[in-house]
């Protein structure tokens, strides 16, 4: 007897088909692209010479590659460190029982939903040395004397973008951490309170250890979503000034769509992909273990 196909696969097929065609196939195409010399001239044709590892060799010797790699890590670590600390503080505050807590926490999610292009442009305005609020306010209070041209000075530009990204990411960190806090067992806290544990002791010895799985998930997700940054950098600085904000994704874009060296651009994209894939696998492994444990 012939085995019948599980009807579930029919329902799944269209979604998987789209993802395979539009994501799976391009990923494989990128691998082959990175071993070829492809420019605008031979883009559509079949005349694309195979060059072996030449694109990768060129990339590793390119002065901008280590710069972009370093900047991507700086951006990622700078962003998630502050997003996490501020998000955690706010999660603790909003986990105290008061009437508007849930509503306000939800309201702040708006910053996460705003299109990145809008946020990028808005913060360009806020950070502007002539009219920016983030220069007016510190000057008003006397914290700085001169306005800072955040986005046009190489030593500040990356921090300008990081500040923007912190604003975007805080509510998401807060939301996930707050959910974790809500799920912590209440009786442990009551027992600790009876034993006379101070607020700080409870935080260090109960909250942090119990929350560790959630903290790890927030950190990993944060890493994945921050590491792939493109829009913010592209709109706010375009990788400048003097490549001080050049990250892997903008470098790949620049090689492919400004220099029209698609092979070299693909090699950067593949390196970005491999790094993200490794982190994603670690993240998935971690959440799987969590599921087994709970």
């Amino acid at each position: 007897m012939k085995r019948k196909l599980n009807p579930g696969y029919i329902y799944i097929f269209p979604a998987v088909l789209i993802m395979v065609l539009l994501i799976g196939y391009p990923l494989i195409y990128n691998i082959s692209l990175s071993f070829k010399d492809v420019t605008l001239a031979n883009l559509a044709g079949n005349d694309q010479p195979f060059v072996g590892f030449q694109n990768y060799i060129e990339l590793f010797n390119h002065e901008l590659f280590p710069v972009a790699l370093k900047n991507t890590f700086l951006f990622t670590i700078g962003s998630i460190a502050f997003q996490f600390i501020i998000g955690f503080a706010l999660a603790l505050f909003f986990s105290m029982n008061f009437k508007l807590a849930n509503f306000l926490r939800g309201l702040m999610m708006v910053s996460w939903l705003v299109p990145l292009t809008v946020t990028a442009m808005l913060f360009q305005f806020l950070l502007s040395p002539s009219v920016g609020l983030l220069n007016h306010i510190p000057i008003y209070f006397g914290w700085i004397e001169e306005p800072i041209a955040w986005l046009s000075l190489p030593e500040y530009a990356m921090w300008g973008i990081i500040i923007t990204n912190i604003w975007i990411g805080v509510p998401f960190n807060m939301l996930l951490l707050a959910t974790g806090l809500n799920n912590l067992p209440k009786d442990v806290y009551e027992a600790a309170a009876i034993d006379g544990a101070t607020w700080i002791q409870r935080f260090r010895h109960i909250t942090l250890p119990l929350l560790k799985p959630v903290i790890m998930i927030v950190m990993m997700l944060g890493f994945i979503y921050t590491f792939k940054v493109f829009d913010l950098v592209y709109v706010m600085t375009g990788g400048g000034p003097a490549n001080s904000t050049q990250v892997l994704s903008t470098l790949s874009y620049q090689f492919s769509f400004q220099n029209f060296d698609f092979g070299l651009g693909a090699s950067v994209a593949n390196i970005l992909f491999v790094i993200l894939l490794i982190i994603s696998i670690i993240y998935i492994k971690m959440t799987d273990e969590d599921e087994v444990a709970s």
């Binding site: 505050f93 939800g106 292009t117 809008v118 994945i224 994704s249 874009y253 492919s256 994603s280």
Partner: protein
């Protein structure tokens, strides 16, 4: 005594909470009111908290016409992408929750990984493929590309909703003679409706907020969505922030509308989709 103490404490917590949220969202307020200021008022020191000359100049005239043309383009792209996402992700999530399949684990993994990939990785191959298919410079290219943002996300957040819908109800309807489709539409769909709203809303916003696909795939400015127009406007209008903030304000309207109409569901759905 104790009672008054608690209400007093929670009163102050509410006040502090409101202040935090107001400070946090102040940039959005600043964006909106700047779009109604005149050029000279923007450069005033100290800046004004509310426009003295409430000006509609950023929304009218030639700029306004350009702006609303782009709203139309954004809407076509985002709405089409959302429809495709829902048509494919709803059945997929349903099957992944309901059918015992050998490949369930692998398919879930596939969606998880694809959700984490950056657009930049697939950009050049898609550009080349779309060029060969002759769909560059049409709505089709960004619509197809942006569905890849919504599909994995929607499948992942919808599956828990389907898992929580009782199988017994559906079976009862089938025994009563309802067709499979009827049972799905009358029994299951109402239960998972909040999930579908969230999936649809987020997919819409993903496509609405896309910049890189539209900018790369569309050269014809009359087809540009707001995001691409905005990017171009930064170069064109420079420090005319009232114009730029008008672009931004219009782009944020769907976010606010969606947020206000779906608030609780949205927050619940987003957490469910990220931490299982």
């Amino acid at each position: 005594m104790k009672h008054t103490f608690i209400t007093k404490k929670s009163f102050w917590l509410n006040v502090i909470g409101v202040i935090i949220a107001l400070v946090y969202l102040f940039p959005i307020y600043w964006m909106v009111i700047t779009s109604f200021k005149t050029q000279s008022e923007i450069f005033q020191v100290p800046p004004t908290l509310f426009p003295k000359d409430f000006s509609l100049a950023s929304y009218t005239g030639q700029l306004g016409a350009q702006l609303f043309g782009m709203v139309g383009n954004s809407f076509i792209i985002a709405f089409s992408a959302m429809v495709i996402v829902l048509l494919t992700a709803v059945p997929a999530a349903y099957a992944l929750a309901r059918y015992r399949m050998k490949l369930t684990g692998i398919i879930m993994l596939f969606f998880l990984v694809t959700q984490m990939l950056p657009a930049t990785v697939v950009l050049a191959p898609l550009f080349i493929s779309f060029e060969q298919l002759n769909v560059l410079n049409t709505y089709i290219a960004p619509i197809l590309a942006t569905t890849t943002l919504g599909i994995p996300f929607s499948v992942l957040i919808l599956r828990p909703y389907f898992l929580s819908a009782p199988v017994a109800l559906e079976e009862a309807a089938l025994i009563d003679g309802a067709s499979k489709f009827r049972a799905f539409f009358t029994i299951i769909l109402p239960i998972v409706r909040p999930g579908i709203f969230v999936a649809g809303a987020i997919s819409f916003l993903f496509a609405w907020g896309d910049l890189i696909f539209s900018l790369t795939f569309i050269r014809d400015q009359s087809l540009w969505p707001l995001t691409a127009g905005m990017y171009n406007a930064i170069g064109q209008y420079g420090v005319q922030y009232n114009f730029l903030m008008a672009f931004a304000t219009i782009s944020v309207i769907p976010v606010v509308v969606i947020f206000l109409s779906l608030q609780q569901h949205l927050v619940k759905g987003l957490t469910a989709g990220s931490v299982k």
